[in-house]
Symmetry: C2
Amino acid sequence: MGRHSDAKQRILDSARVLFHARSYSAVGIQEICDHAAVKKGSFYHFFPSKQALTLELLDQSWLGFEQAFVSSLLNPERPALQRIVQFFKLGCEMQQRLLDKTGCVLGCPFGNLAMELSTQDDLLRAKLLEFFHRMEAVLEKALLEAISAGELSEETDTKLSAKAMLAYLEGLLLMAKAGNNLQDFTVLSEMALKLITNRTTPL
Amino acid sequence: MGRHSDAKQRILDSARVLFHARSYSAVGIQEICDHAAVKKGSFYHFFPSKQALTLELLDQSWLGFEQAFVSSLLNPERPALQRIVQFFKLGCEMQQRLLDKTGCVLGCPFGNLAMELSTQDDLLRAKLLEFFHRMEAVLEKALLEAISAGELSEETDTKLSAKAMLAYLEGLLLMAKAGNNLQDFTVLSEMALKLITNRTTPL
DNA sequence: CTTGTAATTTACCAACCAGTCAACTATTAT
DNA sequence: ATAATAGTTGACTGGTTGGTAAATTACAAG
């Protein structure tokens, strides 16, 4: 019953793009509505608050991210370690596309929000942490497959290595954003595998 | 001539603390003034804008950072590589102190601002990039000293390694902030030296 | 065709934002 | 003592913030 509309999705899409290009607090609900060609009253018909919008946004973003990156990271046709390198490369290409479109290195949409909101909104922080944990799990899965394939020692501390590689990726994206330049990112991302560590020798 | 006052410094100190605990856009000038026990009119007597305040803030912050961290990183009494590990450990202790005081892992004051402002204020982005470059230079100096001391191969790509370690540090701080938890940071920071790379073998 | 429902629209709110300005006060150098 | 200077104050601006309320419109199922 009632009429149907794609306004809600337009709002989500607009918010995703605007938050990524600038930041959570720099983008107001009015601007999101303008970008989505929706009146503010409609916004609050679909979402009780900016926070609620963002929570839903993050769920959708993870699905999009999964489709764009995780699938290739778990693609069994390539050697697992090579897939991890490929994963970093895909991230670099995505950043290059956004740089061409916007003139800015935008960085990781999750990392950006986590940095901005972690000390300010515990619900959003928890949601973003969830994403990072899922990401670590995916990286760990690739590492476990690498062990199965004999590419990696069975002594590899997969959890630790996955955490380290994700942190490194986020750090690289931050530095690229700060420099508004992707050259270092391209080169440095090839060093991610160096962070793979054995259980017995944490140092 | 005229009277003197420490109001300017109080404003700078308050802004530094508040920006670090929350964010640039989440902290208004009014709040900075309240925290510094200064009227807003005085703020604009000392600073033409919020941006100008932040530029000056960053210069001071670098000096403080230099005193707290860089000195020990270049202290010639210890082996250079050990100093780098110590540098990460000092960072961890500082984060722990802030966590005890505020209840939140606050992360890197430079990284936080860089993430938030890089796409929004090119002047501040450039200033923050300057900091990262100086930090890379310091890390590189430690690596060069490690080479001199025979702790490291002469083939080490010091520039690349310094960049990688800084990115890794920033990434670790982001992940710690997102998890509001320092345990991983403590463990993972011991892996920073793994990122040291030779010129001839970037992979 | 009516009725229930979902979507849209407009006008509105108090609080806050960065920033301005002119009057005022305290101090210091002469 | 006085004049120049530096710091302080409070009132103010126009615009924006996230969020609200009520009336209206469009549609789909009965």
